[in-house]
C-alpha cells in the first residue's frame, strides 16, 4: 500500500517535469548591446546691451572672454561621441553690425577651430543669423581637445553708439551629441 502511494507520488512528480519545456535562450546577446542616445544641451549664451560697447562716452570696439568648456573632455563622452552638431543663433537689435569670432582652444591655449559669425545692423526687421557646424571623424577629435572657447566681438564700422543707445546682441548656442554605447 505504502509503495503504491509512493509510486503514484513519483509518477505525478515525473509527469509534471516531463510536460515542462523551455525555449532556447542566449544570454550572450548582451554583448550585442548597442545604444545610441542623442543628447541635447546648452553650449553658450550671452546677451550684450548696446551701452556696454560704450565706456565713458568712447566706443569699445572689441570685447573678449574665454570661459572654460570641458564637457567634451569627460572620459565617458570622449570614448563614446560619434558626432556633434553645434547650433548657433545670433540676434542683433543694435543699430550697428558685428563680427563675432569663436575660437576653440586646447589645454595649451592653442587654437584648434574657429567660427565666424557676422551680423548686419538692426533696421527694424527681425535680424538673426544661424549656423550649424557638424563635427565628425577628425573634426570630432579637434572638438574633444577643446577646453576653452574664446569669444571676441568686434564692432563693424557704422553709426556711432552712445550710452543711451538701445538694443542688444544675443547669442545662443546648443549642442546635439550623438553617442554610441556598446
Amino acid at each position: 500500500m505504502k509503495f503504491r502511494a509512493f509510486n503514484r507520488f513519483l509518477g505525478i512528480l515525473l509527469s509534471f517535469f516531463l510536460f515542462s519545456c523551455a525555449s532556447d535562450l542566449d544570454f550572450n546577446q548582451v554583448n550585442d548591446v548597442k545604444i545610441e542616445p542623442v543628447i541635447v544641451t546648452n553650449l553658450a549664451y550671452f546677451d550684450v546691451l548696446a551701452n556696454q560697447f560704450v565706456t565713458n562716452g568712447a566706443e569699445q570696439n572689441v570685447i573678449f572672454d574665454a570661459p572654460t568648456v570641458d564637457v567634451f573632455n569627460g572620459s565617458f563622452f570622449r570614448q563614446r561621441l560619434k558626432k556633434v552638431e553645434i547650433f548657433f543663433e545670433m540676434e542683433n537689435t543694435i543699430n550697428r553690425g558685428y563680427s563675432v569670432d569663436l575660437v576653440f582652444l586646447d589645454r595649451n591655449n592653442q587654437p584648434v577651430h574657429a567660427i565666424n559669425l557676422a551680423i548686419p545692423p538692426y533696421s527694424g526687421k527681425v535680424n538673426k543669423v544661424t549656423k550649424t557646424e557638424v563635427f565628425e571623424n577628425t573634426q570630432l577629435d579637434v572638438l574633444k581637445r577643446t577646453t576653452r572657447i574664446a569669444f571676441t566681438m568686434t564692432m563693424l564700422p557704422g553709426a556711432a553708439l552712445s550710452e543711451s543707445s538701445t538694443g542688444s546682441l544675443k547669442l545662443r548656442s546648443g549642442v546635439t551629441a550623438y553617442l554610441v554605447v556598446e
Binding site: 503514484r8 505525478i12 535562450l25 548582451v30 548591446v33 542616445p37 541635447v40 549664451y45 572654460t68
Partner: protein
C-alpha cells in the same frame, strides 16, 4: 564576457520580493507551514528537518516581461528586444527574486500530560532582491533627451534593493482552547550584506527656451546605501568571502529584530479562520556601512561669458559637478523587512471514517478528507503593497499523501495554478510545492515561478 557578468549581476540585483507562499500557507502536514503562520494548527511530539534539506524555496517574478522577451534565441536583434521591453513596461513593473534555505529546523511539544504548548526553532538563510523597472532612466539611456523636449524624467524610478541574511527564530504556539491556537515567533536577523536605493526622487527635463537654446533642470535626490560590501572595493583587501559570510551569518553581521504572530480559530468544527503577520522587524546597519549620494539642483545653461549682461558662468560643467556632487557617507541606516500578512477561511467536508484503526499513524488533524479555502496575502514593498488572492482545494489522496491545488490572482498573472504534495511515509515527511504550473509549458516565457521542497522527520502524538 564582462558585459554578460554585469548584466547577470544586474538581473540578480534588480529582481523583487514576491514571497507569497500561498501553497505552503496553512498546509499543516508540512512543518514549514509554521513559518508562514506561527499559530498554524500543526501538532507533533517532536520533529526535525534534515539539515540543509528541510526547506528549500526559490521564487522569481517579473511582472512586466519574461526571460524569453529579452533573451530568446530567435534571430531578432537584442537591441530591438531591449527597446520592446523598456517601452512595454512601466515604472510599476517589478522584478523579484527570493531564495531561502533552512540550515536547521526543529520543534517539540512541551512535556506534561495536559500540555498543549509547542516550541519550534531554527535558522535559515535568505536572499531577497527587488527592483522596479527604472522606465524613465532606461528611456533616457536608450534615446537621450532630444526627442523628449518637455518630458520630465523621474529619477524616483530607480528603486532597487538586495539583501542576504540569516535568520534565527524561536516560536511558541499553544492551543488556548479546543478551538483556538495562538502562536508567536521571535527572530534575530543577521545581515550578510545589504544594498538599498529605495527613497530616490528627482527629475531631469529639457524645454525649448528663448534665452538659452534649452531650459534644462536637474534635481537629484539619489542615495544608495550599502552594508557589508564596502571593503571589497578596497584594492588592498584580500577577500575571504566564505569566511566573511560564515561569520556574518552567525550573528557577526548587522543585526536586527523581528517577530511573527498568528492564530487559527475554528468557529465550527468544519470552518477554520487563520491570520498571520510575518517579518515585522528591522535591521540596523552600522558595520561596514557605505552610502553614495547624488544630491543637488542645477540649471544647466552652458557657459555665459563675463561680458554678458546679468550672471556669467565661466565653467558650466564644473559648476554642475559641484552642484550635484558624488558624496560618500558612512552613517548607520535602518532597513525594514518586508512585512507579510496572510489570512484564510477554510471549509472542510467529506468526513473521514477509517475502516481500520491506525493507531501508530493517527493524525487528529485530518478528520476531513477535503477542504476548500480562500486566502489573502499582502506584503509591504517600497511602493504600493503587493496583494494576492488565492483559492485552494485540498485533498487527502491516501493516508500518506496530501495534495493542495491553488489558483492565485496577483499582479504577476491571472492564471497562476499551483500544486503542493506532501507525503508522509512513517515519520518521514517529504513535500514539494510549485506554482504557475501552466507556465511550465515554456518556463522561459513565465512571469513568475516558485517552488519549495524539503524533507522532515515528524513524530506525531500517539494515542492509545
Amino acid at each position: 564576457m564582462k558585459k554578460t557578468v554585469w548584466v547577470l549581476v544586474l538581473m540578480l540585483a534588480i529582481n523583487c520580493f514576491s514571497q507569497n507562499k500561498q501553497i505552503l500557507y496553512n498546509f499543516t502536514s508540512v512543518p514549514q507551514s509554521l513559518l508562514t503562520n506561527p499559530g498554524a494548527d500543526f501538532k507533533y511530539n517532536f520533529y526535525f528537518g534534515i539539515p540543509l534539506l528541510s526547506g528549500i524555496s526559490a521564487n522569481v517574478g517579473s511582472s512586466g516581461f519574461s526571460a524569453y522577451d529579452l533573451f530568446a534565441d530567435n534571430g531578432v536583434d537584442f537591441n530591438v528586444k531591449l527597446r520592446n521591453v523598456v517601452f512595454s513596461t512601466t515604472r510599476k513593473d517589478r522584478l523579484a527574486i527570493n531564495e531561502q534555505i533552512e540550515v536547521f529546523n526543529g520543534g517539540f511539544k512541551i512535556s506534561g500530560e495536559q500540555s498543549n504548548s509547542y516550541i519550534s526553532f531554527g535558522m535559515y538563510q535568505e536572499f531577497d532582491a527587488m527592483s522596479y523597472v527604472p522606465t524613465d532612466l532606461a528611456i533616457l539611456a536608450l534615446d537621450g533627451n532630444r526627442d523628449y523636449l518637455g518630458k520630465v524624467f523621474n529619477l524616483g524610478d530607480l528603486n532597487v534593493k538586495a539583501e542576504m541574511l540569516s535568520v534565527f527564530h524561536l516560536g511558541f504556539h499553544k492551543n488556548i482552547n479546543k478551538n483556538f491556537i495562538l502562536g508567536v515567533r521571535g527572530k534575530i536577523y543577521s545581515s550578510i550584506y545589504n544594498v538599498s536605493s529605495t527613497n530616490n526622487s528627482g527629475y531631469i527635463y529639457t524645454n525649448p527656451s528663448s534665452t538659452g537654446v534649452y531650459e534644462q533642470m536637474i534635481y537629484s535626490q539619489l542615495q544608495l546605501n550599502t552594508s557589508g560590501i564596502a571593503k571589497y572595493d578596497d584594492e588592498n583587501y584580500e577577500p575571504n568571502v566564505v569566511k566573511d559570510i560564515t561569520k556574518r551569518a552567525f550573528l557577526g553581521g548587522n543585526l536586527g529584530l523581528g517577530f511573527d504572530a498568528g492564530f487559527t480559530y475554528y468557529p465550527k468544527k468544519n470552518v477554520q479562520l487563520t491570520a498571520s503577520m510575518i517579518d515585522v522587524g528591522f535591521i540596523k546597519h552600522n558595520k561596514e556601512v557605505e552610502s553614495l549620494t547624488y544630491k543637488g539642483t542645477y540649471e544647466y545653461k552652458g557657459v555665459i561669458p563675463k561680458f554678458s549682461s546679468g550672471e556669467s558662468v565661466e565653467n558650466g560643467f564644473q559648476d554642475f559637478k559641484d552642484a550635484i556632487p558624488l558624496d560618500t557617507l558612512y552613517a548607520a541606516y535602518t532597513t525594514w523587512r518586508p512585512a507579510k500578512f496572510n489570512s484564510s477561511v477554510q471549509f472542510s467536508f467529506d468526513e473521514e471514517r477509517p475502516e481500520e484503526c491506525n493507531c501508530l499513524d493517527y493524525n487528529p488533524e485530518t478528520i476531513y478528507k477535503s477542504a476548500i479555502d480562500a486566502q489573502l496575502f499582502v506584503m509591504t514593498t517600497p511602493r504600493t503593497p503587493l496583494v494576492a488572492f488565492t483559492t485552494f482545494y485540498r485533498r487527502k489522496i491516501f493516508k500518506s499523501l496530501q495534495m493542495k491545488a491553488t489558483y492565485t490572482l496577483d499582479s504577476y498573472s491571472y492564471n497562476n495554478i499551483g500544486l503542493g504534495l506532501s507525503s508522509t511515509f512513517g515519520p518521514v515527511n517529504f513535500y514539494v510545492l510549485a506554482d504557475n504550473l501552466l507556465e511550465y509549458r515554456d518556463i522561459t516565457k513565465a512571469n513568475s515561478l516558485s517552488f519549495q521542497l524539503g524533507l522532515n522527520v515528524i513524530f506525531k502524538n500517539r494515542k492509545k
